[in-house]
């Protein structure tokens, strides 16, 4: 028994060491800085207690960033998850050229976000392909382009994000589908269950651990959306998100690191609560 415990600890050693060496200090440092008025370039700073936190909660641009992030999270996660699952089911079957389609669908998620964002900035601009397409379909695209209009900018970025992410989650669903034993399907077939029934009574429940992973990771990533905002709109036209706000406060203009840290820990708290709920929700329905 004791030996087992040692093994358990030994196996976790790489993570424990990384945690202590590389993560612990930065986390403690930034947490403490959140209670000061530290500006990066200045050599002095003062304790301000909860002032940063108080100021944030009445800072309009912070609240706007909070709202945009919420829209982003609520808007993209269900879409990404469902499309990814459908794609996984589509390319899971045996057919000619399967590898090609998988690679093709996955391609966006292995391309650098910066490059994708640059390409889409071009596609979204006035007279760009997406505007032309919208006109062909009978819509009037925004006058100055999709990214220069408050009513379309955030949604355009969200659409791009879904486009980019589905390939990666498709892959994870695929790996999950592979872990389901074929015997279960055979047994179901013998009992006369149709494919839809099989999907709901076998595939879906058995995909739960993988689905939990996808939900949690996708929400954390969506809460932290940054690069696309940075490259495409710089937070203008109501696209500023939490991490963009943190970046802007902490790493541009006045390098107000204390304020940015406080904002980061508010975000941290929100994500933590959100993830905790997801864990709860998927656990309560009984484990596989």
């Amino acid at each position: 028994m004791k030996q087992k415990k040692t093994t358990a600890l030994f196996l976790a050693l790489p993570w424990i060491v990384t945690l202590l060496l590389f993560w612990l200090y930065p986390i403690i440092y930034s947490f403490i800085v959140g209670f000061t008025d530290k500006q990066l370039l200045s050599k002095t700073f003062q304790w301000v207690g909860f002032d940063n936190y108080k100021a944030l909660l009445s800072d309009d641009s912070f609240l706007l960033a909070l709202k945009n992030t919420a829209i982003f999270v609520v808007g993209t996660i269900p879409l990404t998850t469902i499309i990814a699952l459908l794609l996984a089911l589509l390319v899971n079957k045996q057919f000619k050229g399967r590898g090609l389609f998988r690679a093709g669908y996955f391609l966006p998620s292995i391309t650098s976000m910066v490059v994708i964002a640059l390409i889409f900035t071009n596609l979204f601009q006035r007279g760009g392909y997406i505007a032309l397409l919208a006109e062909m379909l009978g819509f009037t695209p925004p006058q100055h382009g999709f990214l220069l209009d408050s009513s379309t900018a955030l949604f355009s970025i969200m659409a791009m994000d879904v486009w980019m992410a589905v390939g990666y989650y498709m892959l994870i669903f695929l790996a999950g589908l592979k872990s389901i034993p074929q015997e279960l399907y055979e047994a179901a077939r013998i009992q006369g269950a149709g494919s839809i029934r099989q999907f709901f009574s076998i595939t879906l429940p058995l995909l739960k651990p993988v689905a939990l992973f996808i939900l949690v990771i996708n929400s954390i990533k969506s809460f932290q959306v940054f690069v696309e905002i940075f490259v495409m709109t710089q937070g203008k036209f109501e696209t500023s998100t939490m991490v963009y706000f943190i970046y802007e406060a902490g790493l541009t203009t006045k390098f107000n690191f204390g304020y940015a840290s406080a904002a980061a820990y508010i975000l941290f708290l929100i994500v933590a609560v959100f993830s905790f709920m997801q864990f709860r929700l998927l656990k309560n329905r009984g484990t596989v």
Partner: protein
């Protein structure tokens, strides 16, 4: 009837494929245009093809060196993650000690910290460790990552422990069980992990940029960022650089996707 169904399926498959690869086809097309050309739609169709941008990049810039650095760092980090994430994930998934619960919470919490807030103390740390501007700064902290641990842990939990228990009864040691029995069962997820780690690392910009300063250790995304000029974007060279960046990841994907496909048919037994 069956034929119609098959046809519909391929129409759908190709339609989606078109949506997914169109922007990247655009990237390749632009990268094959002569620099200075307009990237308007008409021009995309009519302009002549040329490899000049690729040649420029390899002759005029340090891109070869950057490419080497990216591959070197990427491979080490990927191998590290396969081993270490797997070990940690296994211990969290299978040993139900309090410590392990705490470990799992630590994994999730680390994920939730926005990196922009970490970057400055991380920089200080690297300077104090004396590994700023070296490969170590790009490798050591990233050898095991929380997303990877979480991913593998979720997968291991979906595998029934029957085989491990059988082996344990036969008297196999823990290490043997871990690497000989569980690891092969985890092939699909480890392949996903490898792809994910490789491409995340491959495209990572902010940390490599802040944590290095000499050309000799800088990686490809930094080179790509340097290709973006002050006031104008040289689309052709930038897209050529981006294409160079996509190709190796695509190769890694094609190599590893067989592992995902093959699944765990070898294992066989379930609940």
């Amino acid at each position: 009837m069956k034929f119609v169904k098959k046809l519909l399926r391929y129409v759908l498959l190709f339609f989606i494929l078109g949506i997914m690869v169109f922007p990247l086809l655009w990237m390749f097309r632009v990268s094959l245009m002569e620099s200075g050309n307009s990237i308007s739609f008409d021009n995309l169709l009519t302009a002549s093809f040329s490899l000049q941008n690729y040649i420029d990049l390899f002759t005029n810039s340090q891109i070869g060196k950057y490419l080497y650095n990216s591959i070197f760092v990427g491979l080490i980090v990927t191998v590290g993650n396969i081993v270490f994430c797997f070990m940690t994930a296994y211990t969290i998934a299978r040993y139900k000690y309090i410590v392990n619960k705490v470990l799992f919470v630590s994994v999730i919490l680390i994920l939730m910290i926005p990196i922009h807030i970490i970057i400055i103390p991380m920089y200080l740390l690297m300077v104090n460790f004396g590994i700023y501007d070296s490969y170590f700064a790009l490798i050591l902290p990233w050898l095991v990552n929380p997303i990877g641990i979480f991913l593998v842990k979720q997968y291991i939990e979906s595998i029934p422990p029957a085989m491990e228990e059988a082996a344990r009864i036969d008297g196999a040691g823990e290490m043997r069980i871990l690497f000989r029995i569980v690891m092969p069962l985890c092939k699909p997820v480890l392949a996903v992990l490898a792809i994910q780690v490789f491409f995340t690392n491959w495209n990572s910009f902010l940390f490599p940029f802040i944590l290095t300063q000499s050309d000799s250790v800088r990686t490809l995304p930094v080179a790509l960022a340097l290709l973006q000029g002050h006031q104008a974007i040289d689309w052709q060279h930038l897209m050529a650089g981006s294409a160079i960046a996509v190709i190796p990841v695509l190769i890694v994907f094609i190599v590893l996707q067989k592992q995902i496909v093959s699944g765990i048919t070898a294992g066989g037994i379930k609940q």
